[in-house]
């Protein structure tokens, strides 16, 4: 039984991982067809992974209601919103769930346009207010590094907006230079470092050194 719980997953990760690497270098159609099939399987499993995300969100709220943890009353709203939207999704503007989805009319689209879009858009726009208050109260040049950061931010902000052009033609040019040279250099340095890190992590996964992604204890 231990083979199934521990060794089999690591074996699968090793086989599938090494295949993923080697196929990149092999143009032969047999290898390319295998890569296509593996990628196709990956897409279908990814769909179930998204269902897992939704399923765990729902069970989280279910547990909150069962144990009446803080704010459990609001979890009913999650179920309300979810249930209503699922109903409209199945209704699919009259065609039912086994026909292609109707994306330009019907109650499902109405709910998306008038509940999800305003909520999601507003949620992110709240940050503009917090940025403004932080700009005044907390963004301090505490250290020389933070000072460089703030000066660079101010130049870039002025350069990207028409008012910068009105002040002087140099600002947009200098702001563009800041983006295309020092910013590029730092981002390329970070990118090279992060890429080596990503390769190291991938290697640890393939060779079974990294196991935390399997989750669920030993």
């Amino acid at each position: 039984m231990l083979f199934l719980r521990r060794t089999l997953p690591l074996l699968i990760a090793f086989i599938v991982g090494t295949l993923g690497i080697l196929i990149y270098y092999i143009p032969h159609t047999a290898a390319q067809d295998l890569e296509q099939e593996l990628a196709r399987w990956d897409r279908i499993i990814a769909a179930f992974a998204m269902l897992l995300g939704i399923y765990s969100l729902m069970s989280l709220h279910l547990n909150r209601v069962k144990r009446q943890q803080g704010g459990w009353g609001y979890s009913f709203l999650v179920f309300l919103g979810f249930g209503l939207m699922i109903l409209f999704s199945l209704y699919n503007d009259g065609l039912g769930p086994f026909k292609p989805q109707v994306a330009d009319s019907g109650p499902f689209v109405w709910m998306f346009d008038n509940v999800q879009v305003p909520a999601d858009a507003t949620m992110f726009s709240i940050l503009a207010f917090f940025i403004a208050s932080a700009a005044y109260r907390t963004f301090r040049a505490r250290t020389p590094e933070a000072a460089i950061l703030l000066v660079s931010a101010i130049i870039v902000m002025l350069g990207r907006v028409p008012i910068g052009v009105l002040i002087s033609d140099w600002i947009p040019w200098f702001s563009q230079w800041l983006m295309a040279v020092p910013n590029l250099a730092a981002k390329r340095g970070i990118l090279l470092g992060v890429s080596l890190g990503a390769i190291a992590t991938s290697l640890r996964i393939i060779f079974g050194i990294e196991r935390s992604y399997l989750g669920g204890g030993e």
């Binding site: 143009p27 909150r64 932080a134 907390t138 090279l192 470092g193 050194i209």
Partner: protein, 401 residues
């Protein structure tokens, strides 16, 4: 004297040479592909403008030949495709063409695709503007499926070498101690915890929004275990606000273990590690509310944060708490840098985790990546110097074909 001789010879070969049929013809399977294509190469010749190369292909040496393509005499030089033909000087003097299909004159609705593992016969004819045709001799070729893409040889070598370095480094890290430079962020962390003890106020900790499987959350939990040990020793109140039940469960284990190792099992209770809220903004609002009420002396944020980083850091700064942050989310780093006293940037979060946990897989990876960075760094400098002196070979080696 020698100089004049040189001019004469030059003069001699400048005069219009009598045009002849294509020379140095070679046909071969097109490399680095899954078959279905034959490559034809022939020498570039000085031909009057508007002359054309016609390439014909047939299934038997003397059987019907069909037109594959017509090319102007200036097109398709080998130097256009360095991935396959390299960067030699001769590439600018030779033409090439990949034949993948031809037009069968009797059934004309769709061009016929070349079949793999079948021998075809190829002939190239120079057609001068006056219509004169100069055919070359016929040469056979067979398209086959290749097993290795030679244009990716630099990618393959770089990948294999770097992988070996990482795996060997991890293997060595298991055998004996490895040196890592001291991480300034961790000193700042100890100083902050010391200050919190003097002021007798709690220490807050937040993990970011990533799930337990993510590298950033693992690093955050490693750092939490060290903080918990310090708060156990200094008898300072620790509060860990979570937004993910699994991360909360793991954090409870880690904090309980740290209190045990510090010999203070009695000081630990489960309420120190709690679920503040599940959604991003409610989580930030809940933690902000607690911070304003309990006025912690230190606010520590480690892990992968999203837009809520600003809400937490701004409130922390306003209640005067010492703030230490560490994140590999590069979009949130600027907000931490301008609001916190010390920020672990990007990979420093992983380095701190390795420094604390001394886990072989983390130490080995870090050392292996250092070797990789040193190699890339030196190559860049050397490559630029050589390129400035006109030698592009290093730059050509490090090109993604």
């Amino acid at each position: 004297m020698r100089y004049i001789l040189l001019c004469l010879t030059l003069l001699f070969c400048m005069c219009p040479v009598q045009a002849q049929q294509p020379t140095q013809i070679q046909t071969m399977d097109t490399p680095n592909d899954a078959g279905g294509s034959i490559t034809l190469t022939w020498n570039r010749a000085d031909l009057p403008p508007k002359s054309v190369y016609k390439i014909a292909i047939g299934e038997s040496p003397n059987g019907p030949f069909y037109l594959a393509t017509e090319l102007p005499t200036t097109a398709n030089l080998m130097s256009d495709d360095p991935a396959t033909f390299g960067h030699g000087d001769e590439t600018a003097q030779t033409h090439f063409f990949n034949i993948t299909e031809y037009q069968d004159t009797n059934n004309t609705e769709k061009p016929l695709k070349l079949e793999t593992d079948k021998t075809y016969y190829v002939q190239i004819t120079t057609q001068l503007p006056n219509g004169q045709m100069l055919p070359s001799n016929i040469s056979p070729a067979t398209a086959i499926q290749n097993l290795f893409n030679k244009t990716k040889i630099n990618n393959f070598i770089l990948g294999t070498v770097f992988s070996l370095i990482i795996l060997i480094a991890i293997y060595m890290a298991r055998r004996h101690e490895m040196y890592i430079r001291r991480i300034a962020g961790l000193e700042a962390l100890d100083e902050a915890l010391g200050r919190a003890t003097e002021m007798g106020k709690p220490v807050f900790f937040a993990h970011g929004l990533h799930p337990m499987g993510s590298v950033s959350t693992i690093a955050a939990v490693n750092i939490l275990s060290r903080i918990a040990r310090r708060t156990a020793e200094f008898n300072t109140e620790l509060k860990v606000a979570n937004n993910d039940p699994i991360v909360m469960a793991v954090s409870r284990e880690v904090v309980k273990e740290s209190y045990l190792n510090a010999g203070r099992p009695d000081a630990y209770n489960d309420d120190m590690v709690f679920l503040a809220a599940t959604e991003q903004f409610s989580y930030a609002a809940a933690v902000d509310g607690m911070m304003v009420r309990e006025r912690p002396a230190a606010n520590i944020m480690m892990g992968y944060f999203y837009a809520e980083s600003l809400l937490l850091a701004e409130t922390g700064a306003n209640i005067g708490a010492i703030q230490i942050a560490g994140t590999d989310s590069y979009t949130q780093l600027p907000f931490f840098i301008t609001t916190c006293d010390y920020t672990l940037m990007g990979e420093e979060l992983y380095a701190a985790s390795a420094y604390l946990s001394r886990e072989p897989k983390l130490m080995g990876s870090l050392k292996g990546m250092d070797v990789g960075k040193a190699f890339l760094l030196l190559t860049l400098v050397l490559g630029t110097l050589l390129a400035t002196m006109g030698n592009q070979t290093l730059a050509h080696i490090f090109t993604a074909y």
